[in-house]
Amino acid sequence: MIDFLSTIGRRVIDLCSIAGRLAMFVASAFSHCVRPPIYFRNVFEQFWRIGYNSLPVVGMTAFFTGAVLALQASVGFSKLTAPSAIPLLVIVSMTRELGPVLASLMVAGRVGAAIAAELGTMRVTEQIDALDTLATNPMKYLVVPRVLAGLIMMPALVLVADVIGVMGGFIVSSFILKFNESAYLINTIQNTHFKDIFSGLVKAAVFGLIITTLGCFNGYNSRGGAQGVGLATTNAVVYASVLILFFDYFLTELFLTQ
C-alpha cells in the first residue's frame, strides 16, 4: 500500500517538475523571440523545412479527409438532400476541425520528431555546449527559429489543407457520386464563413507552437546517448499529439461560446 502511494506521489512530483521546466523553457523561448539578435537565415530555413516540406503529407491527408467525408455523407443523407448537404459538411468540418487537427497531427509526427531528434543529437554530442562557447545563444540560434516557424507556417499549411480538403470532397461528389458540380461549388461558397476559417487558423497557430516547443524542449533536455534521443523523440510526438487534442477541445469551446 505504501509502495503504491509512494509510486503515485513520485509520478505526480515528476509531472509537476516537468510542467514547471516546460513553462520556464517556453517563457525563455518567447522572450528570446522578441529580443535581438534574430538569426534570420535559420528562421527562413525552418520556414522551408517545417512549412514547405510538410506540404505533401498535409495535402494528402486533407485530400483523403475531404474525399472520405463526402463518401460517408452520401450514405447518411437521402438522395434528395445529399447534393447540398455534402459541400456543407465538408467545408464546415474541414475549416473548423479536421483541417487544423489532422494537419497538426501529421506535422507533429513529421516535424516534432525531427526537431527532437536533431536537437537531442546536438545535446548529447555537446554541439549545444559548443554554441555557448562560440558566443551564440542556443535558444536564439536553435529554438527561436523553430518556434517562429511553427507559429507562422502551421496556419499557412492549414489554409492549404482547407482548400485541398474541399477539392477532395468536390472530386468524390462530382465524379464518383455524379452530383452536380456547380451546385457543389455554390453550396461551398455559401457556407464558407470567415469565423470558421479564422477559428481553424487560430487553432493551427496554437498547435504549431505546441509541436515545435515540445520538440525543442524534449530535444534540448535529452540525456544519455542514443536511448535518450529516442525517448526524447517519442515524448515529443506523443505529448504534442495529446496536447493538440486537449487544446482542440478547449479552443472549440471558446469559439462556440462567443
Binding site: P37, Y39, M122, T125, E126, Q127, D129, A130, D132, T133, L134, A135, T136, N137, Y141
Partner: protein, 262 residues
C-alpha cells in the same frame, strides 16, 4: 603567485548532483600564459569543472574569477562577455554537422554575438588560414564534418576554438580516441597554437603522455579536490601516493575507482 597576477582564480568550488558530491571545495589558480593540465581518474569531476568554468553548469558554491570578474554570479552579461574570451576543444569535437568544415571554423566570426561581423568572403579566408595552421589544406574546407576521420575532426575543432583568438583555451580530453601518432600531432598543435596566441590553457586528461607534453604545470583532481599541484617535471617524483599511482598507471593503490559517471 599573488592573486592579482592570476588569470583564472577558482576558490572553494562545489557542485553536487543530487546526493553525489562531484566538486568538493576545489581551489586552483592559473597565471597568465600558463598551461595547466588537470589529471584525474574517470569520474573525478574533471569535465564538470570545465563546464563550471565555461558557465554551462552553475556551481553550488565558491567563486570563479577570470581577470577578476566573477563567472559564478547571477549576471548573465558578465558571464557571456567572459565566455567570449574562452575557446574550448570538446572531447567529441562537437562540430556542427549541418555546416561545412570552413563554416564551422568561421562560426564565431559569422554568428557570434558581440564580435564585429566580418564579410562572408573574408571569414572564409580566415577559416582557411586557421585550417592551414592546424595542418589542413583548402581541399577539406567544403567537406561536411561527418566525412572526416576522428583525428581530422579534432583538428577542425581546434581551428574553430582558436579562430576568434581567445585569451583562454580549454581542452577536454584532447587525445581520447585517437591513435598515438595522431594524439602526438594534436598535442604538438595544442602547444604551438597556445604559444602563438599567448593564451592561458587549461586541459583535463587522463593521458599522461599528453599531459607531459602540453603542461607547464600539472594538478591532480581526486574526489572533487586538487590533492597535488606542481611543475610538469615534478610529477614523476611527486612523493604523493595518489599521484604516483595515477602517473605510473597501477591498479593497486589508494585510489578507488568511481563506478558511476556522476
Amino acid at each position: 603567485m599573488s592573486t592579482e597576477a592570476a588569470k583564472i582564480s577558482v576558490r572553494g568550488l562545489k557542485k553536487s548532483f543530487g546526493p553525489k558530491v562531484v566538486l568538493d571545495g576545489l581551489d586552483v589558480e592559473v597565471a597568465q600564459g600558463e598551461s595547466l593540465v588537470i589529471i584525474g581518474a574517470s569520474g573525478s569531476g574533471k569535465s564538470v569543472f570545465l563546464k563550471c568554468l565555461l558557465g554551462i553548469i552553475r556551481a553550488d558554491a565558491g567563486s570563479i574569477l577570470v581577470d577578476g570578474e566573477d563567472m559564478t554570479g547571477g549576471d548573465r552579461t558578465t558571464r557571456e562577455r567572459v565566455r567570449r574570451e574562452m575557446g574550448m576543444l570538446f572531447q567529441g569535437s562537437a562540430l556542427f554537422d549541418s555546416l561545412t568544415v570552413w563554416e564551422n571554423v568561421a562560426f564565431a566570426l559569422n554568428e557570434g554575438v558581440g564580435r564585429r561581423r566580418v564579410a562572408r568572403v573574408r571569414s572564409r579566408e580566415i577559416a582557411l588560414e586557421k585550417l592551414a595552421s592546424v595542418g589542413l589544406g583548402p581541399e577539406v574546407a567544403d567537406l561536411s564534418p561527418a566525412e572526416l576521420s576522428g583525428g581530422m575532426q579534432k583538428r577542425v575543432a581546434l581551428a574553430r576554438a582558436i579562430a576568434p583568438s581567445p585569451e583562454i583555451l580549454l581542452f577536454d580530453e584532447p587525445t581520447t580516441g585517437l591513435d598515438p601518432i595522431m594524439a602526438d600531432t594534436i598535442n604538438d598543435l595544442i602547444v604551438s597554437s597556445v604559444q602563438k596566441l599567448g593564451a592561458t590553457a587549461i586541459s583535463i586528461t587522463h593521458d599522461m603522455a599528453s599531459a607531459r607534453k602540453i603542461a607547464t604545470r600539472i594538478a591532480m583532481l581526486y574526489q572533487g579536490k586538487i590533492i597535488w599541484d606542481g611543475s610538469a617535471a615534478e610529477v614523476e617524483n611527486s612523493g604523493n601516493p595518489y599521484v604516483d599511482q595515477f602517473v605510473h598507471g597501477r591498479s593497486e593503490g589508494p585510489i578507488k575507482m568511481q563506478v558511476r559517471a556522476r
